[in-house]
């Protein structure tokens, strides 16, 4: 047996170790599942970590009701294929109050549907540890994030009071009501994720692959008109273009890119050539300066 391991095997080993620690030390863990590529990798690692057993925790989808229909289909497919325990939560208060991605503004919309929805679910099910797919490379403010990220009784992140993390020894002690967010993919880069998906042949939501889809231009974005709810100008007609998505969010807020990449190698090739930060496709981050930091303090992932 060779002495050295590949970088992907090392990253995989680290992630599995983290997941097993959480299961051993926490009473009610949950894994966030958005059907995105990072979620798909997390799911894959969880299946490996507890093999030949089943994944011993539920998966949680915070459903804004505005996900792409392909996302719902993919989610349900994964649930039945792996026999997952899936929990779906929607912030019904916000829906009743008329919050929607068109009129509310992306800040208010995301705050209500994603953040409040998440906090409601964590409270409802009394989860003490929640796995998220965030990576340190993704964004400046994530570079210093710990793998076990502590949240107080109000799910708030106190950046001044995070515990030092040494080796792979994680301090899992919390007081009643407190919780942690766990980031098993902390040390993966976007390229690692793609390379691993390729290597392990991990199923992906079809939106990542280019296909002819009806789109409208909402500068600077191309929006995929995913269902009849999308408001169009009186004589506006969606145009069919060859597009795909680099990240998945709520469809009215997630920009598509024009692309011919319909296979994994082509996607990776395009990704290598397309040097733009990963989250630039999502509208939510542009609205506020330093918005990620603020959202984390409030309890976002």
């Amino acid at each position: 047996m060779s002495k050295s391991m590949t970088h992907l095997k090392e990253l995989e080993a680290e992630s599995i170790h983290i997941m097993r620690e959480v299961v051993a030390e926490f009473e009610r863990p949950v894994m966030l599942f958005s059907s995105g590529k990072d979620s798909s990798v997390m799911l894959h690692l969880a299946l490996k970590a507890f093999y030949p057993g089943k994944v011993p925790f539920p998966f949680l989808h915070i459903d804004t009701t505005w996900d792409f229909k392909e996302v719902y289909a993919f989610r349900d497919q994964m649930v039945s294929k792996h026999g997952l325990n899936l929990l779906v939560h929607t912030n019904m208060d916000a829906i009743r109050a008329g919050v929607n991605p068109f009129d509310s503004g992306s800040v208010k919309y995301t705050h209500n549907m994603n953040l409040q929805g998440l906090l409601q679910a964590l409270k409802k099910y009394k989860f003490d540890a929640a796995f998220g797919g965030a990576r340190r490379e993704e964004e400046k403010s994530r570079a210093k994030e710990r793998i076990f990220s502590f949240r107080d009784r109000h799910y708030q992140w106190d950046p001044k009071n995070q515990r030092p993390e040494m080796w792979n020894i994680y301090n899992a002690r919390i007081n009643p009501g407190e919780s942690i967010r766990v980031f098993p993919l902390s040390n993966w880069t976007e390229l690692d994720i793609w390379q691993y998906i390729f290597q392990e042949n991990i199923p992906l939501c079809p939106l990542y692959f280019a296909a002819p889809r009806p789109v409208v231009r909402r500068d600077p974005q191309l929006i995929y008109v995913n269902d009849h709810r999308y408001p169009l100008a009186p004589d506006e007609k969606p145009v069919v273009r060859h597009v795909r998505f680099r990240t998945l969010g709520c469809y009215p807020l997630t920009g598509a890119i024009e692309s011919q990449a319909d296979t994994l190698p082509k996607i990776i090739e395009e990704m290598l050539l397309f040097r733009q930060s990963e989250r630039s496709g999502r509208a939510i981050d542009h609205d506020e300066q330093g918005s990620m930091e603020q959202k984390k303090r409030e309890g976002y992932f």
């Binding site: 047996m1 050295s4 391991m5 051993a24 093999y51 301090n171 690692d192 990776i268 090739e269 930060s277």
Partner: protein, 643 residues
């Protein structure tokens, strides 16, 4: 054209992916402050390996004009400067992680900001790293912080150091300067426990010897930094001999399967191997190595596996499966180097937990001595504050299976958790329990194994009883400067106040415990060491020590200070001129010295090094004994040692 574009022209994506699957991972740490060019170096590595996205680079170009320090050129330091603003807001950043990748390896940089919490941050960053880059400014050479950084790397078991001599452009790319610093560093580094040290002259700002060999330093032939990072041999760093597997979980998916899940902490395991379970000491054999990718015949560190065993044995989380031939130590007690990570200092009355591998147990700890991270010397330490390092005796309620950290970074490491706050307050590296070779330095405080019994009276109880804070007052000065006179007057004054002082008079001690010593520099140093040792015992037992001793050498006084602890040490220099001292000499010692009958007499035939920054200077030829004592008393009150 970017590297990727070039690459994709020459190679199709499939072979690119194929090749990428064979990369290794190297985690490294960068040590240095902003002034050393650390941010610039990291920015340069990210930039020159095309890790930066176009939009990030555009933002940095914009900012360079506004805030940069490079006169409009792209200021690469700004790439990692997200942390600066956060630091100003008081956000704790112990480590920020950066990522880049080349055709040969993926790299993770642990970037530790260089402010006051440096020891803690560096220890955190170093704990997961295999290699450290130590930045030295070519203009300044090896500084105390260079030593500190190197020592922490050594303490945390880093095996590869790259000493980058930066800002070579500011010293005319001088080979002589490079060699000078290299020699300076090598001399100091012989004290460290690091086997691989590599030196590279660079300019992070100009890009010299970072990715490409520098045209300005043709005399340097060992290749640029990136080449070294890509090729340094790391495959043997892991301990692949001693099999250890701390059990994380017991998996029982059905009645027929009982597997033990965990990451292999060190060594390898094969199907059929005999293994021992600790703490039960039961032996059995490996029946299968189960993974989602199929059963394996063999697995090695750090792979996460599930083992099934041939016998039905009782195993739960926290147990360790180990080699039968080469088992770990097993017991409650061990010694370790601790780094204190929390603002709240160590509390001898506090309740602490230790997490080692997958086992968490209550623990008590006893400080043997502190370690000065700048000089590596031992020093007295009452308690442990943030960023302090100490050698400690640990006693765990549940016995642990452990190895010395230097042999095994997994089973030799632990964290300490405050039971009340649940915070991680310290990290520890277990020391070699079998090492009998004590330090050859007589000043070092040697840990005792023979007796674990210790005093049941705490320092606080003594302080309450005696109503005083223990401290040592060292009166130094020439013969005839008034040391003994002032010492006994001070003793009287303190005693009358209800305190319990003890005078250690150099000449008295020479009649007894130092009767074997002469007056050479070495013997004087040894004499002072003994006096310091006694003062320490007195202080540890709550008493005030007044040392009246010539103590001619600054370096030796410095060691006494370290031995006693700076926070309970007062150095008083009696500054009477030599002529005055001579005139007070009734015993005729100076005459004998001047006649050469006493050799190496300080002030006459050997140096008396005047203290550069004593806590107090008393001109005893100008003020009276009473006034001198008054001044010392005032100083003791200011320090809060007496009321």
């Amino acid at each position: 054209m970017t590297a990727v574009e070039t690459l994709l022209q020459n190679e199709d994506i499939h072979s690119y992916l194929e090749r990428n699957q064979r990369k290794e991972l190297l985690r490294f740490l960068t040590c240095g402050s902003v002034d050393d060019g650390k941010s610039t170096l990291i920015g340069r590595l990210l930039h020159d390996t095309k890790t930066i996205y176009e939009d990030q680079l555009a933002a940095v170009k914009r900012d360079s004009v506004r805030h940069g320090t490079t006169g409009g050129d792209v200021d690469l330091a700004l790439l990692t400067d997200g942390l600066k603003a956060e630091r100003e807001q008081g956000i704790t950043i112990d480590v920020a992680y950066r990522f880049f990748s080349t055709a040969k390896r993926k790299f993770i940089i642990a970037d530790t900001p260089g402010h006051e919490q440096y020891t803690r941050n560096m220890a955190t960053g170093a704990s997961t790293c295999q290699l450290a880059i130590i930045l030295v400014d070519a203009r300044h050479g090896v500084l105390p912080q260079t030593r500190r950084h190197s020592y922490i790397c050594s303490l945390l078991g880093i095996q590869h150091l790259v000493v980058t001599i930066n800002k070579m452009d500011l010293v005319n790319y001088s080979e002589a300067r490079f060699n000078e610093i290299k020699n300076q560093y090598s001399e100091f580094a012989s004290k460290l426990d690091i086997r691989d040290i590599h030196f590279i002259p660079i300019s992070a700002l100009k890009g010299d010897n970072i990715v490409e060999s520098s045209p300005h330093m043709p005399w340097y032939k060992s290749g640029p930094l990136l080449n070294h990072l890509e090729t340094v041999h790391i495959a043997s760093d892991r301990n692949l001999t001693d099999f250890r597997l701390p059990v994380q979980l017991v998996l029982r998916p059905n009645l027929n399967f009982r597997g033990f899940a965990g990451s292999i902490a060190s060594g390898r395991v094969r199907v059929g191997d005999e293994v021992m379970i600790l703490p039960s000491s039961r032996k059995t054999r490996v029946k299968s190595i189960v993974t989602a990718d199929g059963e394996l015949k063999e697995a090695q560190c750090p792979m996460p596996v599930v083992l099934t065993l041939t016998d039905e044995v009782d195993i739960s989380r926290g147990d360790i499966l180990t080699d039968v031939e080469n088992p770990p130590h097993f017991g409650h007690d061990f010694e370790a180097n601790l780094v204190w990570l929390n603002e709240k200092p160590f509390d001898p009355e506090g309740a602490y937990l230790l997490k080692h591998g997958t086992r968490t147990t209550p623990v008590t700890l006893n400080i043997l001595h502190g370690i000065d991270v700048n000089t590596l010397e031992s020093k007295a330490l009452d308690t442990l504050h943030l960023n302090e390092v100490a050698r400690c005796e640990m006693s765990a309620t549940t016995p642990l299976a452990f190895d010395p950290y230097k042999n095994n970074r997994s089973t030799g490491a632990f964290i300490v958790i405050d039971r009340q706050t649940s915070n991680t307050v310290a990290c520890g590296m277990i020391l070699d329990q079998d090492a009998q070779s004590g330090p050859t330095d007589p000043w070092a405080i040697v840990a005792g194994h023979e007796s674990r019994a210790r005093s049941k009276v705490t320092a606080m109880q003594r302080q309450d009883r005696l109503r005083q804070k223990p401290c040592t007052i060292l009166l130094t000065g020439l013969t005839g400067s008034g040391k003994a006179t002032i010492a006994f007057e001070l003793e009287k004054r303190l005693f009358e106040l209800g305190k319990l002082p003890v005078v250690l008079h150099g000449l008295d001690l020479r009649r007894q415990i130092a009767s074997d010593l002469g007056f050479s520099a070495d013997d004087r140093s040894e004499n002072l060491r003994r006096i310091g040792g006694i003062a320490r015992i007195l202080n540890d037992n709550g008493m005030i020590a007044i040392c009246a001793v010539l103590a001619p050498l600054a370096s030796v006084r410095q060691r006494v200070k370290a031995l006693l602890g700076a926070d309970r040490y007062l150095e008083v220099y009696l500054s009477a001129p030599l002529e005055v001292c001579k005139s007070r000499d009734q015993a005729g010692i100076y005459k004998l010295a001047e006649a050469g009958k006493i050799k190496a007499f300080p002030g006459i035939s050997s140096p008396y090094e005047v203290p550069e920054s004593p806590d107090l200077t008393l001109a005893t030829h100008e003020i009276s004994v009473a006034e001198s004592v008054d001044q010392i008393m005032t100083m003791l009150k200011t320090r809060g040692w007496i009321e």
